[in-house]
C-alpha cells in the first residue's frame, strides 16, 4: 500500500499529509490570522495572482491582485491591515480536490497542483455568503531547508462580478 502523489516513483518526497497541510495552513492564515504568516508560505520569487475566469479565457492579463515576489505579497498584507479602510469581515476558505503532478518541465523538485476553492464571507449584521468560487493553479517547490512553498499561485474566480470588495486574498 502506498500514499504517493501521482507518479509516485518520480516524486516520492511529497506526502499526502504534507500537501494537505500546506493548503490547510494557507486557509488558516487567511481565515484565522495572523495574516502576516500568509506570505511565509510563498517562495521569495513567488508570483501571486487573482484573475477572473472572464479575463483568463479571453487571454487578458489583468489581475485583481498581482504580487510579483514575496516582498510584494508582504506589502499587500501590510496594506490590508494598515492602510486600507475595510469593514469588519471574516472569510472561510474551503478547498477540495487538491491534486499534485510532478512538473514535467522542470528538473528541480517542483509540482503542479490544482484544487477547487469556495470562499465564504461574513459581515456584521449579515448572514454568511458565498463570496467566490474558483480554481487554483499552483506550482510548489521546496526551500533549501525542505519546506514546501508556493512558487506561484493563480486563483481563477468563476464569477466576473465581485460582491462589492475583494479584501482578503482568495
Amino acid at each position: 500500500m502506498t500514499d504517493g502523489a501521482r507518479g509516485s516513483e518520480a516524486a516520492p518526497e511529497l506526502s499526502r499529509t504534507e500537501l494537505e497541510d500546506l493548503y490547510a495552513e494557507y486557509a488558516e492564515y487567511l481565515d484565522e490570522g495572523p495574516l502576516e504568516r500568509w506570505p511565509t508560505l510563498f517562495a521569495e520569487q513567488a508570483v501571486y495572482r487573482i484573475v477572473t475566469r472572464e479575463n483568463f479565457e479571453r487571454d487578458l492579463p489583468l489581475a485583481m491582485i498581482l504580487c510579483e515576489g514575496r516582498s510584494s505579497i508582504e506589502d499587500r498584507v501590510y496594506a490590508i491591515a494598515n492602510t486600507a479602510f475595510t469593514l469588519p469581515r471574516r472569510t472561510r476558505h474551503l478547498i477540495s480536490g487538491i491534486r499534485a503532478n510532478r512538473d514535467p518541465s522542470e528538473a528541480t523538485v517542483d509540482w503542479m497542483v490544482t484544487a477547487n476553492f469556495a470562499v465564504f464571507e461574513t459581515l456584521e449584521e449579515r448572514h454568511t455568503e458565498c463570496h467566490a468560487t474558483g480554481r487554483y493553479q499552483d506550482r510548489l517547490t521546496r526551500s533549501a531547508k525542505g519546506k514546501l512553498l508556493f512558487l506561484s499561485k493563480l486563483a481563477i474566480c468563476d464569477s466576473a462580478l465581485v460582491p462589492n470588495s475583494l479584501v482578503t486574498p482568495l
Binding site: 487573482i50 484573475v51 477572473t52 472572464e54 479575463n55 479571453r58 487578458l60 492579463p61 489583468l62 489581475a63 485583481m64 491582485i65 498581482l66 510579483e68 515576489g69 516582498s71 510584494s72 508582504e74 506589502d75 499587500r76 501590510y78 496594506a79 494598515n82 492602510t83 486600507a84 479602510f85 475595510t86 469593514l87 448572514h127 466576473a160 462580478l161 465581485v162 460582491p163 462589492n164 470588495s165 475583494l166 479584501v167
Partner: protein
Amino acid sequence: MSCPSLREKTGVSEAEWTDVSSLWQSSGTHRVPYRVYTDAGLYARELERIFHGPGWSYVGLEAEIPEPGDFKLTRVGKISVIVVRGRAGAVAVLQNQCAHRGLEVCRHAFGNTRSFQCPYHQWNYALDGRLLAVPFAKGIAGSGGMPDDFDAKAHSLTPLRVATRNGVIFAGFDNGGMAGEPLESYLGEKMLRWFDRVFDGRALRVLGVSRQRVPANWKLMFENIKDPYHASLLHVFLVTFGLFRADNPSRTEMDETGRHSVLTSCRGGARAANDATAQMSSFREDLVLKDPKLLDIVKEFDGPETVVMQTIWPNLIVQQQANTLATRQLIPRGVASFDLVWTFFGYASDDEPMRARRLRHANFMGPAGLVSIDDSEVMDIAQRGIEADPSGAAVLEMGGRGVEDQDHIVTESAIRAFYGYYRRVMEL
C-alpha cells in the same frame, strides 16, 4: 406568497415614495435629501430621464471589438444592449431584446458572430439589427406562417444612436425622435480637453475587465469621484505615498451645465510631513514598501497633472492615476445597488515595461484595489447609514455653497454642481 428562502423574507423593500414637490427643502445643493438614495419612485424617474433619456451613455471602447462581427454586452441604464462592429467596420448598438417575444438574443459578454439568432424560434438579425429571417415565415406546405402584411423591417433589434470619439463608444435612446445633442457639444469644450488627453487618437489595448456590484445608490459613486476632499483623508495609501495629497496642486473643473467634471492633481516630490499632513491622521511617515516597483511611475502625459479623474454624466468615469488607465462604467441595479465595470487599458504602442507597469499599477484600482477598496467599503456604509434613517440630508458645504471651479481640494463644489444639474433634469 410563501417566501422560498429565509433570506428573502428579510428583503422586504420599503419603497418610501416621496412627495417630490417637497423633497428638496432648500434652494441650492448644499443639502442633499437622503431620500434621493433610497426612494424607489425617484429611482424609476432617474432611469427614465437620466439613463434612458436624451444624453449619451458610455458603452465601451472600440478596442474591445476590433474585428467585424466582434460584440460585447452591456447595459444602458437597465436596458441590455449589444455593442457590435458591423461588416463594414461601423459600430452599432442594439437593444438586446428579440422583436418576437422579448428574449435576450445575445447571452455572451463578448464574442464574434455573423448574425444574432434568437434561440427560441431562430429569428435572425443582422449586425445592424435588421430582421433577416423568420423560420417558416411562409409556412410549411402552404399552411401557417406569418401574415402577408408582416413587415420584417418593423421588427428589428432596436438600434440606439451611436457616437464615438477617439475609440470611445457612446450610445443613447431616441426619445421622441430627437437625435440627441452631438457628442462633442454634450461633453463641452472644457471636458473635451481632458477627455482627449487620454483618448488622444492612439490605438488602445485592453488589459482586462473587472466588475463589482456595489450595494449603494449609483450617485454615491459619482459623488466619490467628484470629491477631492475625501481622497486626502480616506486613502491612506495614496496620501502616504504622495500619489494624492491635500497639499498637492489640484483643480476641480465643471462643464457649464455642472453634469460633468474633472479632478486633477499634481504629485509633488517630497513625502515630508508638513502643515497639511499634520491635519491628516491618514499620513504615515514611516510606511515603506518592501517592493518599491509598485511606485515606479513614469510620466507619460503633457502638463504637470499626475492624476486626472473625469466624470461624464451619467455613467462614465475616466481614470488616470500613476500609469493605470481605465474607464469605469456605472450600471444601476436598483435604488441601492450598481455595477461598476472597470476596463483597464493601455496603448497599442506601449512597450513591455509599460504594459507590465500598467498591470502592476492596476493593484491600486478595481474590486481589490489598494486605493479603490476604501471607496467601495465606504459606499456600503454610506448606503446603510442613510437607509437606517433617510429623513435627513447630506451637508455639502466644504468650499462654500457654490458650484464654481476650484483650484484646491478642500471643496465639494463638483458634487454641488452635479446635483444642480440633477435637480433640473429630475424637476426636483
